[in-house]
Symmetry: C2
Subunit: 149 residues, 2 copies
Amino acid sequence: MFTFRPIGYARTPYKNTQQVPKGLGAKQEAEGVLEILPEFEAGLTDIEGFSHLIVIWVFDRSEGFELIGTPPSDNRPHGVFAARSPRRPNPIGLTVVELLRRDGTRLHVRGVDMLDGTPILDLKPYLSSIPFEKLRRGWLAEAEARTRK
Amino acid sequence: MFTFRPIGYARTPYKNTQQVPKGLGAKQEAEGVLEILPEFEAGLTDIEGFSHLIVIWVFDRSEGFELIGTPPSDNRPHGVFAARSPRRPNPIGLTVVELLRRDGTRLHVRGVDMLDGTPILDLKPYLSSIPFEKLRRGWLAEAEARTRK
């Protein structure tokens, strides 16, 4: 067992999960603030140089998990590790955000999809991308193709 | 505080951190196996459709943390949240791997950079990329530019 503590909290426009854009074609354009605890401020040194950050956080209002579930982007069930469902064995969330500016311990970002008050466990710089032509997106691409018909 | 348990373990060629390619231009081409625990097998349903996975894991052999450190890819110090250092407030690692094939609970992958026996906390499908022309990579790009001179 491994125990982690928040390094900060996300401030977002979303008070409940119904407000978060979901499903095929949902765009995550909302702005928010990642409020890092003052004791960790030195760890943010040089973060301004990166355009995008990986935020690792906790689905702290999710309860239990299901190994197979039907995501909002499809009408067919899929395995939890092939989906972004909040009901995971370890309720860890991951979001790539665009860093707009830093104001001390407050990181202003675009692309938040977590609830207001979400505990943040870690931040990492986004360093490289898989070229789009090399990416296969499984059931999600199939669900998109079906809705296009 | 949040407590997580392994959903499986990584089998990799690396017995110690000296063996892991690091620094500028290091390529992660090593193959390995993500051995998922049998109780979570149903969660892997449909994962074969995705070419790349995000693996969230624990630096279980890292001790303590430092908020500012000098990474192997530069000779200048940077904040821990602007780097991929193992010595993090929460020792969580993240690796994007290419899924080569699935054999029951064993996922054969390319691009492992974690030590053999590393506990895995979560798997997520890699769904989208930031276009390369939109990515700024801060001190890392600067360090690369200096070595090119």
